[in-house]
Structure formats: C-alpha cells, structure tokens
C-alpha cells in the first residue's frame, strides 16, 4: 500500500508517466492470473512456469509501475483463490477441448511445454490475464492521462507528496527500478 502511495506521489510530482500506470495494471492482472508454478509436473523450470518467468522479466524491463502491479497481484491472487482460478481453469478447458483444434494444444505441449499453455489453468489464466489486464489498463491509462494535470496542480507541491516520493525504496534501488 505504501508503494502504491509512493507511486501516486511520484505521479503527482511529475516523475511518472500515465502509461506506466496502465502497464502496471496490465502486468498486475496478467502476472496474477497466469499460474507461476508448473501445472503439468515435470515440465517447468525448477517448478516454475517459464512463461510466467518471462512475463516477469518483460514487466521489469518495461517501465511498468511496480507498486500498481504489486497491488493488483495481491488483489487478484485473493480473488483467484476465491473463485477466479476455477473460472480461468474452466475457461481454458473450454477453449482447449471444445473450441481449438486438438493439434493446437498438442503443438503447444510439444513446442513449449514449460510455458504450461497446454494445461487448462495455464492457457485460461494467460488468456484471462491478457483480457482482464487490457480491461483494467486502458481505463487506468485514460483516467490518469485525463486527470493527471489537475492532480499535479492540486497535490503536487504538498509536503506529504514530497516526503512519500523520497521513500526508502527509492533511495535503495535508485534508478535501477525507476
């Protein structure tokens, strides 16, 4: 939550672009809904899904908002345990078994088994994450882009924003993750 506030403070102080918030929202949903573990035992990399590891790398390589993504990962992780996981796994099962040709899933399992896209949860979670991520990122981006000038004018010079911006994480990681 503190990180999110810090991000919000940096947004208001003019150091964060609106697209970073949108990217953060997109990757937050995608990383949360795509299974990080190897759903098909023995096909992952040290027990992890290689697709999830790659998404994490791309997320860190792009200037996506880490606090926003972290916040959404926590939220969606909770939702997934409640009902979203069943939904995405069922969605994947429906797509792989009833919609797509068999050769599609077989091809995925032979070409890139470590991505877990040949499993119900792996495929449904990845596709669901993209859809939900886009559904969140676009409004987030639009909202921040439209509202940002007014927010900066109103809160940008406040002491709280300036204090939050000089947070401990900012001092430790410097420009590595900014």
């Amino acid at each position: 939550m503190f990180g999110f506030l810090r991000q919000f403070a940096r947004l208001l102080s003019g150091k964060v672009a609106p697209f970073e918030i949108g990217l953060g929202a997109f990757f937050g949903a995608l990383l949360a809904l795509t299974p990080s573990v190897a759903v098909d035992p023995g096909t992952g990399l040290a027990g992890f899904s290689v697709l999830w590891l790659m998404l994490l790398f791309v997320f860190l390589a792009l200037r996506a908002s880490i606090p926003v993504a972290t916040f959404l990962i926590v939220i969606f992780e909770l939702l997934e345990r409640l009902f979203l996981g069943n939904l995405t796994a069922g969605f994947g099962r429906f797509l792989l078994e009833d919609v797509m040709p068999q050769s599609f899933a077989i091809g995925l399992s032979s070409a890139w088994p470590s991505a877990q896209l040949h499993t119900w949860w792996g495929f449904g979670g990845f596709l669901g994450g993209i859809l939900l991520g886009l559904a969140l990122a676009l409004p987030f981006h639009a909202l921040t882009k439209r509202k940002l000038p007014a927010w900066r004018e109103r809160f940008g010079q406040s002491r709280a924003v300036r204090w939050t911006d000089r947070s401990l994480t900012q001092r430790i990681f410097g420009w590595w993750l900014s």
Binding site: A17, P35, F57, L62, L96, S110, H118, T119, W120
Partner: protein, 491 residues
Amino acid sequence: MFKFFRKGFLVLVTVALLLIVIGVAFGADALFSRALRTWGPSAFGGQPIEFSDAELAIFGGRAGVSDFRAGTTENPLLELTHGGLEVSVAAALSGRVHVQNAELVGTRLHLIVLEDGTLAVDPGPPPPEVQAGKPVPPRERPLPKAENRDLVQIVTEYWERYQTYKEYYDDYGGIFSGGSGGSEPAAAPARFPGKPSFVTEAQERRRIENAAQGVFWLERAAIDDFRWETVDRRTGKPVLPELKGFTFALENLGTPPNGETMPATVRGDGELAEGGKIGFRLDLARDGADSALEFSALGVPTDTLVALAKNALPFQVSGGALDLVADGLRFRDDALVGRVRVELRGANVQARRISPKVMGVDAEVFCQLLNDAMASSPVAFSIVLGGTPTRPTFDVENETDLGDLLGGAVKAEVMRRAEALIDEQAGKLQEKAGELLNEKLGGKLDGVLGGDAAAGLGGTLGEKAKESLGGLLGGGDKKEEKPKPPQKPKD
C-alpha cells in the same frame, strides 16, 4: 522508444549476465569443486569425498578430478589418481549427452566385509515397519547366519533384499539406488491441475519416441590400472582375488548419432596377483546380428575362486589351477549358442559333510580316486549353452570321461594292491619253499652244497615258485582272496 524501458534494470541484467559468464569462465574450477563436495557424497551412498584438485572447462566441455577418494580414510570405498571427462558442447546445447572420452586412471576399489558378515557399504535392511509390510520371500534353502556367509551368499542376500525393497532403497538413495541421493520430494499438485487427455496421450507417445531416440552417447571410456583391495575382517583374508592390473574399456555405448550401427563394446584384460590371466570382450550388436562374448580365465588359482563360494560347493577344493574359456559365444534375444570349456588341473578335492555320492561311490572314495586321477592328467569338460539368454540350457560334454577317469583310477588302484599282495604272497612262498627244502632234504644238501643251500635255492626258485610251487602249495586257493575291481556303475 527507450522511454518505455527500464534502462537501469536492463543494465543490471546485462552486467549480471556478464559477471556470470566471466565467473563461469574463470571460477569454474572453484564452482565445480564446491558442487562436487556438495553433491558428490550422495553419488557414493553418503560417503564423504576428498580430492586434491578439480577442474572444469565449460566452453571446452572438459572436467577432471585428481587424487580423488570416496569414503573415510579408515574405510575408503574408491580412490582415483585421476579422472577426466570430455563431452561435446554442441551436443549438450541440443539436449544430448555426448561423452567423447572418459578416463579413470589408478582406480582402487575397496570392498570390506565387516565382522558381522556385511559389506561396509551396505545401507542395512529397511526399518521394521517397511519389512513388516513386505517381507522377503522365504528361500528353499535358508542362508547361514550373516557372520558365516561367503561372498556369493552375501551378494545373494543383498540382491534379494534389493528386489523386495527396491522402492525403499531408491528413495533412500543408498548404495543400491545408483547414488541419486534420494529423490526430490514430490511437488504439491497445482491448485487447478488438468490438461486435455489427448495432450497426455501425445506426450506419452513423444516420451516413448524420445526414449527410443536416446540422449546419451559414449564414444569411449577407459579405466586403466584398475585394482580392487578387498578384505574380510572375519578372516583377515581378501574376499576377491587381488588384481595385479586390469584395464577396462567401454566403446560406443548409448544411442549413436546419425543412425550408425556399430556394436557397443565392453572389454577388459588383466592379471591376478596370485597368477592367472583374465580377459573378456563383449560386443553388443545394433543391426540385429548376434552379439558376441569372448571370455578367458587361464591358470587361475582354484583357491582364489573357491573362496568366493566355499559354502555353496559340495566338495572342498584346494590347490591347482583352473582354465575357463568361452570363445565364440553368440546370442540375441531369442537364441544363445556357444560353449564354455573348463579345465581343472592339480586340484585336491576333499569331501564335506554335505558331499553327495558320485556315480554310486561314497564321497570320500570318489575324492580319493579323483585326486589320484587328477595327479596324472587334468579334468576338462565343456558346457554347451543353448536356449535363450533369459532361459539358457546347459549340456555338459566331458572331454575327460569321468567314468573312464575313475575306472582308470580304480584299475590302477587294483593293480597296485594286487602287486602288493603278490609281493607279499611271493615272500611267503619263498619262506615256505625254504622251509620245505630244509625239511625234505634236511642236511643232505647242506653236506653237498653248504649251509646256505636253503636260502640260496629259495632265492633262485623265488620267481618261479610264484607260478609252479604256488599251485602245488595251495597258492591257487588264494586267488579268491584277490579283491575284485569295482564294477563300473551303470548310467
């Protein structure tokens, strides 16, 4: 464009990768040493390992270790002067293990039987709860107490135990498991597992295809100057015949690249410290032709071999030497042909309490006759193999007919006894002839021929007396007392 990227992170990753590459290039030896010390013991059933130097060239595909020892100083298991391995980096990048050359120099294997009749490397039986769930099937002939077993019986017990508790030992990671160090705990299943059944079937088909394709190819591996040092602490004697020097070579093992069909070869030769040479060559065909085995053990002291299975042999054998030659042994899945020639020379066979009658002759008599026979000529026979490798048949062809051998030995014994009897009877006849002459002729001859006439005539007539006087004096009746040669037993 670059404003979308977190430049600091990319620099961080690039620097980290560079450091890893440099570290691997220059610090590989240290990393390899550390990895060997960490994971090496599990490959030797938990035995500690020590070495003076380890080297690894990742980009060159070479690894080596010097002055290596597995086990404690007091109870070493394996010692190496040097071990080296060369693999193809290109093959490794494509997911295949292609060993171009592997070499172990100055290999010493230590095998110690402890006072309780178990090997020092034995992980011991499974816990009682495991044994209670699946006891070892009872044997037709129970083995003796552990402390009284010979090596063959020790290994037999281990093998039966391993077959029964294979899963336990595989999990345990002991000496039986091939040194896996215990399997990784099974990962917890994912929260929402599942995949289409047709994917599972496709994966299984692919797994079978990959297994047939193989990922391992060994061009050459050699163990030079291999020796083992074995000791049975119950007796203080070696368990296995000491090797003077032995060389093993493995060639073309695994799945050859490019569909080549050269045979896989395992060969070795060397000498025993107590005398005798051993050599073998096994060619395993890949093109459907017969595989071949050549084996020879020449002049091997019988004592060294008998000690391995002294409890299982019905006779106590000592001394002498043994030749064992299998030449031109050929086999494939559904056929086995060839013969093994065994020749025993100068051995001494003694009956044991459990020794059976042989050809109707008591064990003691048989042993005496056999020993007499072997003193003059070796005993040789061929074992003709047939059937299949999994269900072989054996047909023994005696080059030395045991019946003839024993018959000859009996005949010789009879002749010896008969000669002794005749000599004895001849002596008596001489004596009787002397007495008779003395009695009938009295002092008449003494007067004519002198006082020594009786003795002189006796001596002169001695040989003839056996034939002519023998019948006159009732020697013919003695014929019935001559021993009859034993009848040759019927088959």
